[in-house]
Symmetry: C2
Subunit: 333 residues, 2 copies
């Protein structure tokens, strides 16, 4: 679609990704994550070429507080799926890495068994940039993984900031991992996160089966209070343990069965495709609005006055409407 | 603050509002609600002059589904407050009126007893414009009411669309009215609305006291699942009836006691003022972003292409990032 023709290197990259070559996929994602303008333009060309081959995976978001056992769970799930003849890619949106360059989710080589399998592609979160930018690059990395033929894309995040909304917004099914403590840990369910969940898994349930059942009943109760969730799907709450091997296998199989039931239900109602279409439209507008805000804030006259006007508004000596009107009149768009 | 000097008429308007004259207040709000550009400029001048005299009321948002008894409740509350020597203004954000010109909240003269009292000022919702614009005008009308010396501003809305968020966002305390049916009606609590509530009132509780207690326990349970709500305030859930006179008086007095406790608690922790400051800053940016979106959508080149690009993105034949970049390059800001 771009005026300039794709280079031979980039054409080779596209062919490599489409052939399912891990090295080509990794290089493509590096290109997507690059902050360099020429890289970004190349990435968009490569993505445009890959686009007709995307959309055929199941996109799963997985979130939970640090310590809930996300890595172990994803590893169990991954090994189970490989056993079912599937290939999976694991990506991450790590809000900590975007702020500090450090990472809560850590090095993905924690998933030792999974990372040794050729059927799995594991990629840590891009470690710089604002959340919006990271989310955008993760979405594009997801498209590249789909073009490379992965059947399942897992996008991991932690219960911090807006990252859960961002991940729910780029996946077909959002799975919330919980600990079986009915007390303080349940309180840690952030505002609005329960509403994002299509599936809740109480992990480490074997540590305290009674507590897990109490937690399950509390969560079911909370879910019943959330109306308008999509009438075709009652959010299941599963108890499982990803630690002890046989129970883990059972639990993960049960979880995957729910995923398949979700996909079948939503395909039948047409809502599977509708959600993806809404997401795509939403991403476009998010990016446009982010860029408009940036242009506005960086506009010379606006940048000179915005802090003072904001202070006046906060102090109550200028109405928000007046301040907005004045700043907008400085910004000739 | 504006370059041009205020007209004698508008100066008289300001004086009238500050003297608490209802006619001057009504005319000022009409000016605020006008879509005419010259009126909007005059309204901003008038508001700037009133601004030093604002901020001294308690701003209360009240929401609930049609039929929950909002008008009766607000009338009882208003009469109670007048009995306590207070003056109150009742405004509305009615999402139905912004779309259809009709109104769910209806003619405010429903509050027959209250509307006859000089201590009360009742104003229906502006009946045109998008919700963002209506919310903005209601906020400004609220400031005018404060300058006119009203002690309590009640802003009423219904459980439809985004209007509840908008009202919670312009008030100090958001009160959710509920019916005592534990079944389908409780399900009608919309996504995220419970999280907005600082106070929940189960109205018409006398109709079925047992059901009301069940509803109360369900709502308490749901509230306990919402973390990060502000550690200094546990949201009270009250059962009351606004229909039968003596119980109504008791219930409303109890409700007002909770409001006063809330205000005292939040003043002590400093969060009362912080919430207002955050709201003011948020309003400024909301207005800026709304206007930037409008300018973008109405830009000639963008307007010519946006529908096609959006369709391509939804159909999966253009990446959201690519579409955003192309549209933004057309929009020279």
């Amino acid at each position: 679609m771009n005026a300039c023709v794709m280079s031979a290197d980039d054409q080779a990259l596209v062919q490599g990704v489409l052939a399912g070559e891990r090295r080509a996929l990794a290089k493509t994602i590096t290109l997507i994550e690059s902050q360099r303008l020429d890289h970004q333009q190349r990435a968009q060309q490569v993505l445009s070429a890959l686009l007709p081959h995307t959309g055929r995976s199941v996109r799963i978001g997985i979130s939970g507080v640090p310590g809930v056992g996300k890595s172990t769970f994803i590893e169990s799930l991954g090994l189970y799926l490989i056993g079912q003849g599937k290939r999976l890619a694991v990506l991450a949106v790590d809000p900590s890495s975007t702020v500090t360059g450090g990472s809560i989710l850590g090095d993905k080589t924690r998933m030792e068994l999974l990372s040794m399998r050729t059927e799995a592609f594991i990629r840590p979160s891009p470690s710089s940039g604002a959340l919006g930018g990271v989310a955008e690059r993760t979405r594009e990395a997801m498209l590249a993984c789909e073009a490379a033929g992965y059947d399942v894309i897992v996008i991991e995040t932690v219960g911090v900031g807006q990252s859960e909304t961002a991940v729910a917004d780029m996946t077909d099914l959002f799975c919330l991992l919980q600990l079986p403590n009915a007390g303080d840990d349940l309180q840690a369910i952030k505002k609005g996160v329960m509403e994002l969940a299509d599936l809740v898994v109480i992990n480490k349930a074997d540590a305290d089966p009674t507590a897990a059942q109490v937690a399950r009943s509390h969560i079911n109760n909370a879910l019943s209070m959330i109306a308008g969730r999509g009438e075709d799907w009652a959010v299941p709450v599963l108890c499982l343990s990803a630690l002890s091997a046989p129970e883990a296998a059972n639990g993960v199989a049960q979880m995957w069965q729910e995923v398949e039931r979700f996909v079948a239900t939503r395909n039948e109602s047409g809502r599977f495709q509708v959600r993806r279409q809404q997401q795509a439209r939403g991403w476009m507008w998010q990016q446009i609005e982010r860029e408009l805000r940036q242009r506005f804030r960086h506009h010379t006259a606006v940048a000179d006055h915005v802090a003072q006007f904001e202070a006046d508004v906060v102090a109550g000596c200028m109405t928000p409407g007046d301040a907005a009107t004045r700043l907008l009149s400085m910004f000739k768009g």
